[in-house]
Amino acid sequence: MAEISTGLIAIGSGLAIGLSAIAAAMAESTIGAAAVGAMAEKEELFGKGLILTVIPETIVIFGLVVAILILNLAKGG
């Protein structure tokens, strides 16, 4: 049986990545819709559209790094 603290750490690290993923998704949905709209008008905007759309993705990467750090905390402590 795992201890409660282990479970809490797991929840914490899950929240770290889950919440940041939701945030990124919300940001990207708005940008993506606008980017596709712009692309429909002018196809050359694909590159710029892609870039703008994926900018918030970095948030998830941060979330992931934090999640891994928290998990590591569990190993150490």
């Binding site: 590159g47 892609l50 870039i51 990467i61 891994i68």
Partner: protein
Amino acid sequence: MFAPYQMNNIIITGHSNLLDAVINELHMLKILHIVEHSKNELADIGKPLESANKLSEILVRVRALATALNIKKEEIKFELKSGIDIESAAKKLNEEVSKNLEELRKIEETIAKNEALSRELEILKDINVPLEAFSSYKTIVHFAGYVKTKEITSALIQEISKATKKFMLFDSSTKKRCFLLLFADAKKKDVISNILENAGFSQVSFPNISNLNGNASSNLRKLEDETIKLQQRRAEAKKRLERIGRENKDFLISSEEFLTEQLEKAEAPLKFAATPSSFLVKGWVPNDELKNSIESLTKATHNKIFIHFEPAKKHDKVPVKLKNPIYAKPFEFFIDLYSMPAYREIDPTFFIFLTFPIFFGIMLGDVGYGALSLLFFWLLKKKMPKARNFSNILILASFVTILFGLLFGEFFGYEFIRPIVSREHEMFKLLFISIAIGIVHVNIGLIVGFINEFRSHGFMHALYAKGSWIVLQIGIALLALSYFGTVSTPPLVGAAFLGLSILMLFKGEGVKGLIELPSILTNIMSYARLMAIGLSSVILAVIINEQSAEFFHKGGFFVLIGVFILVFGHAINIMLGLLGSFLHSLRLHYVEFFSKFFHGGAQKYKPFGLKN
């Protein structure tokens, strides 16, 4: 490698009656990127050649025919016979096609009408009343419609017979409802319609049967025979059209191509400057083609035109034709997708060629996945020669994936050899490697940016705008290292570097640069995705393997389920992996790398006469 083809600005001018010859020669040479003239007080734009109107008329007809015959554009090997008269051939074909189309339209109209009629007759088929009875009479009214059940009918008869003795009722019931046809005394119309309404009667009208005689079922049989015949005729007409399409496909496609080309030539003067008796073309020609093209132009016009050329000046908007060795050429696709680099900027194609496959490989990093994607894109290349560049990029990336798969020791998620770095167990090691790659990549970008700025704005500006970022990184690194006690320099040294870099940045890029300060960290951190995407792909693969292994141990029927999970799971994981690795690798180049040096926005070199 890092610079596009050198361009020359060229001006061709001559007498109007040489226009035809010059256009023909230019179209054949396919070297001149025409700069469109816009009307000014010195010269108007040219008028299209006389043939343009006629050509566009025929072209519209040919395209309409191709649409009507459902002919798709495709590559064909068909030579138009020389001297063939496209106009009259198209006209003749048009007559034949429209005759058939008209017939088809008429048949389909009749079929639709018959369908409506047969729906009405279908309702009446079990009632043996001649259809003439449905015409209007002075003394008789009729009601036709539905009630919910057959039981209501007898109650209705009783009620109606209270009102009048002069009535006749027919009924036929289906599973869901009961059809009633009631003839009655016209004087009692209101009373009866009241009774019917109370019984939940919903009326049906028969607008199509008024011209028919005899009872419904015999009419229905006749109609069915007729419909079969019509359908046969329709199929024949369609077959005829198909045959016409098959026979004339080559002719239509190739004449469309031919006409488009001729029309392009005929409309070319719209891009030229013209006076009543002369014309002038401006444009760009690559250096290596210059001599030949001038020679053939003078030859074609018997030395009666004037050609002036000079190399591109500093502030000219030069169209860009990228120049790369054959192995890096496919990666121009990514530049095309983004934006053409300016004429004097460094062309980043070669850098993408070096790093894109590596990033892709680190993220996908599995021998099995790499081999499958290699096979897939090799097949795609055979099937779709048009997407050749794209396939070539991914074939190369797949090779690198296999190499990294060996390094990570992964085969469909199994560790089949002792890995040098294990993606599953050595996350942190890989995270640091990723960040290190990020630091190197971003700094390569900064150095390229430095060279770009140096070329366009001089050394000092380059130092302030790009060098400052490198100083900033040194400052941060020193601060961090002295904080952890790895190096013995006092934190003040790091802080001094930091302060210096901020001052430089402010001088180079102003307030905008200061706002951007944290971006260098987020940019480098962003390379953590090299580890993250790979990790998620590995974990998923391992889970798939474990799940299917459980079913394999149970034996018997469960083995099938295990196989299903294995195949289906890995298929999905490969698709996700390919998509993720491709997009994220591309993103690292577009966002993190390009933002350090790329301005872009140049026009692509598109010579007159070259097909897309």
